[in-house]
Amino acid sequence: MTGNATQNYKPRKHYDVVFPIVNTIILVILMFVTLYPVINTVAISLNDGTDALKGGIGLWPRVFSTKSYVSILQDPAVYQAAWISASKTVITTVLNLFWTGMLAYTLTRKEYVLRKFITTVMVLTMYVNAGLIPNYLLITKTLHLQKSYWVYIIPTMFSCFNMIVLRTYIAGLPEALVESARIDGAGDIRIYWQIIFPLCKPVLATVALFVAVGSWNSWFDTHLYNASKANLHSLQYLLKMKLATTNQSANAAQSSVDALANTASSKTTPVTIRCAITVISTVPILVVYPFLQKYFVTGMVLGSVKG
């Protein structure tokens, strides 16, 4: 490396001192601004449902109650659904990284004769959409993927956006890496897997995050293809259904019983259920995030390459 340790000790300019302080203040303010809705959501989720209808809950529950969580978590179907969601998220993420990374690499190879063609074909998929019915018919009538676990995996193995993100990153890596490997007689498959792939950890972590979050949060595929198979329901689908039914019973509650005080015991309401659902479905992502985040550390890659 060309660095000279003594350079670090030269006198600092005044904004070098002020900047970190201002920066810290800005970031702390930003943290509060973005943390507020999150804490508010948690507070509402831990509030009594009927009381929460009145609104005005800030950073702390007004009438504490875990009923929203209990009503969701006591349902054994939630655990089956969580298992479905977790497993499909892992599988989808791994498959995406596998395919997307390889394709991205090939599309950085200038000499590749199909590069332009494939790139165009891929990019267009982001801007053209056939519409719901043709896609539905493809999955059901042509491929017969409905009412099966595979419908979560097979149609979601690739995303062009992520491929572009990866491609941009790989293109930024020094070409010398590929060249020297080629001189050593390595083919593209080996170059990719042995040299490029390991260097892409930060961006692979990013793409993994995007794919995992997308897969974890998806409910539409369950709704379209697996709604009649209770044991294949995904967590998000199940939670969405819970919210919908709470909404509905809120309306149906009132028939001829408006005078009956003692039946109106504290119950879950859409307001609190919605927040509890958000918390329940976000926590797993929060748990996984630090493991991915550690790859986003500046300077790790090239430092290790160039030595």
């Binding site: 009145k54 006591q74 009132q254 408006d258 859409p270």
Partner: protein, 563 residues
């Protein structure tokens, strides 16, 4: 060879003789796939009602509930008619699956001889329930209405639908007056507000809320027809006293103007806040639940959650009474009235069969006769009691021939989790059912539904309400409005499917959404101009809509009279 043939023949004969027994006795277990066109909870494995169904009929269910958009979901299901759910409930868009040929004609199975129960169930309303196929001209019935085929005189304990609502404390403060006109209503609210600008906590009261969020725009649009004295026909006013049932949208008529003029005045006085037009449904419920909204036009079921919240807090005085307001004679100039129109208050309508709502049997179902046989048997008293009241001794009891529930048992029936173990909601809600009064047998004079039973409605009523009703000398909250009138031959016009004119209808809605709030908020000088501009903008779509509705109403009337 001959021997063989004769053996075979004998076997066939024997077989055919055995078939009836086979159906009745050896019920081969089957699982039916069921689609419900609304959201719902999967029942638990140990659900006691479904267990009984399985025991007696050998039938299990695999439920699918609606999660996304209804029309979209149905549209996709229609793509493959060979793979439809056996029991198919199209929710509020059932017309789509009927038109799409997804359902079988139930009349192929239902007739007075084979299915006396089912036939007796639909017979009183058969002119509404049975229609003619537009192409083949044959009698068809695809869906037995899930609600509204009631036995005995109509039960009306309270107003469950549209009305002008007012907080009980406002009436109490005003000395329990009778309120019948817009002027009386707003006058009372104004006087109350002038003397009580805030509640005990210091939160300002809101005089009158107008909810406009999405489809709940009916709170802004629908009042005019009721002020004109008609029950809920949606967005049109129909003169049922004339032979040709003149039908028109009312929102663009001169007689609608006085209502919005009144709202405009109240807006200027600050009784209505501009915030009401940007309010989400959640914010609306929040306001109502806090007990600070004195009045609004709505339907009772729409704010059930808010009522529950108020009851939980013991704020009985902040709960609402439904009032049947009508135009006063001098509200509407005589020349603005439809010809020969007389205003008479009718907020409650006759019992209405929920046409085309409920389960149909799909064309891909392998065993329609078993479903019909099950429904037929289920209309018997024992099954109806089981579905409605539960298991005797466990969920309810019979004392001196009266069906009763303890407060706790009744509270259970409202608990969603309890229902998943103990009720067959997902199946029963969309199936044919008895409602109203039990007309025969030991339990004659009881109600099929616990929520209508006197012991529950009045037995569990809180003291504030009893006292409140006492001041008026009423026994029930429905006494604030006139008793139900006879249902018009066309039913209620909001039931009519607007698909053929859907784009014009969407225009109709959009113009109201964008312009009507501005009309209400206009300055007094601008009001007339803005109203005229609104009427001009909405007239084209109103015309299409009115004409279409008139045709449909006439068709329904003709069908009702069997022409």
């Amino acid at each position: 060879m001959r021997k063989l043939l004769s053996v075979l023949l004998t076997l066939c004969l024997l077989g055919s003789l055995l078939v009836p027994f086979a159906v009745a006795e050896a019920q081969e277990p089957i699982t039916l796939t069921v689609f419900r066109g609304d959201p719902g909870d999967q029942p638990y494995e140990d659900n006691k009602i479904y267990k009984k169904i399985e025991e007696e009929f050998g039938i299990k269910f695999e439920f699918e509930f609606l999660a996304g958009d209804l029309n979209e979901t149905l549209g996709l299901k229609l793509q493959d008619l060979e793979d439809l759910p056996d029991l198919f409930d199209g929710g509020n868009s059932a017309e789509m699956i009927i038109d799409g040929g997804a359902l079988i004609n139930l009349l192929d199975y239902i007739n007075p001889e084979d299915t006396p129960n089912l036939w007796a169930h639909i017979e009183p309303q058969k002119n509404r329930v049975i229609t003619k196929d537009e192409i083949t001209g044959e009698d068809v019935m695809y869906i037995i209405p899930n609600y509204g085929l009631t036995d005995g005189p109509q039960i009306a304990n309270s107003v469950g639908g549209p009305a002008f609502f007012i907080q009980k404390q406002v009436l109490a403060w005003g000395g329990y007056p009778e309120i019948h006109t817009l002027d009386e209503y707003f006058d009372l609210i104004e006087r109350f507000l002038a003397e009580n600008p805030t509640n005990a906590d210091g939160t300002p009261y809101v005089g009158f809320d107008i909810l406009t969020e999405d489809w709940r725009r009916f709170c802004m649009i629908n009042p005019v027809q009721h002020l004109m004295g008609r029950p809920n026909d949606g967005e049109v006013l129909i003169d049922v006293n004339k032979e040709d049932f003149p039908t028109e949208t009312f929102i663009n008529q001169p007689y609608a103007k006085p209502y919005y003029k009144k709202l405009n005045e109240e807006f200027q006085k600050g009784i209505i806040s501009p915030d009401t037009f940007v309010m989400s449904f959640d914010q609306y419920i929040a306001q109502l639940s806090s007990g600070i909204v004195l009045g609004m036009f709505d339907q009772a079921w729409d704010f059930g959650d808010a009522t529950n919240a108020l009851l939980t807090d013991g704020k009985f005085e902040n709960t609402y009474v439904a009032l049947g307001l009508i135009y006063d004679e001098d509200d509407v100039p005589a020349e603005d009235m439809p010809e020969g129109w007389k205003i008479e208050e009718h907020y409650l309508n006759g019992s209405l069969p929920n046409l085309d709502r409920g389960f149909g049997i799909s064309v891909s179902c392998k065993c329609p006769e078993r479903i019909i046989a099950m429904w037929e048997r289920m209309l018997d008293d024992d099954w109806q009691l089981l579905f409605n009241w539960g298991v005797e001794g466990e969920d309810y009891s019979i004392e001196n021939g009266r069906l009763t529930m303890t407060a706790e048992q009744y509270a259970n029936t409202q608990d969603v989790e309890w229902q998943r173990h103990n009720k067959a909601r997902a199946f029963f809600e969309s199936s044919p059912k008895r409602q109203g009064w039990i007309l025969d047998g030991d339990l004659k004079g009881n109600c099929w539904e616990p929520g209508n039973q006197d012991e529950i409605v009045f037995g569990l009523m809180n003291d504030y309400d009893k006292d409140f009703l006492g001041h008026y000398g009423y026994s029930k909250f429905a006494d604030f409005v006139n008793p139900p009138i006879e249902l018009a031959p066309y039913g209620e016009a909001w039931q009519i499917d607007k698909a053929p004119i859907d784009k014009d209808y969407q225009d109709f809605l959009n113009i109201q959404d964008t312009q009507l709030p501005a009309v209400i908020m206009a300055s007094p000088e601008e009001f007339d101009a803005k109203w005229d501009a609104f009427v001009e903008a909405i007239n084209p779509s109103c015309e299409v809509y009115s004409n279409f509705m008139h045709e449909e109403v006439l068709k329904l009337v003709a069908a009702y009279y069997g022409e």
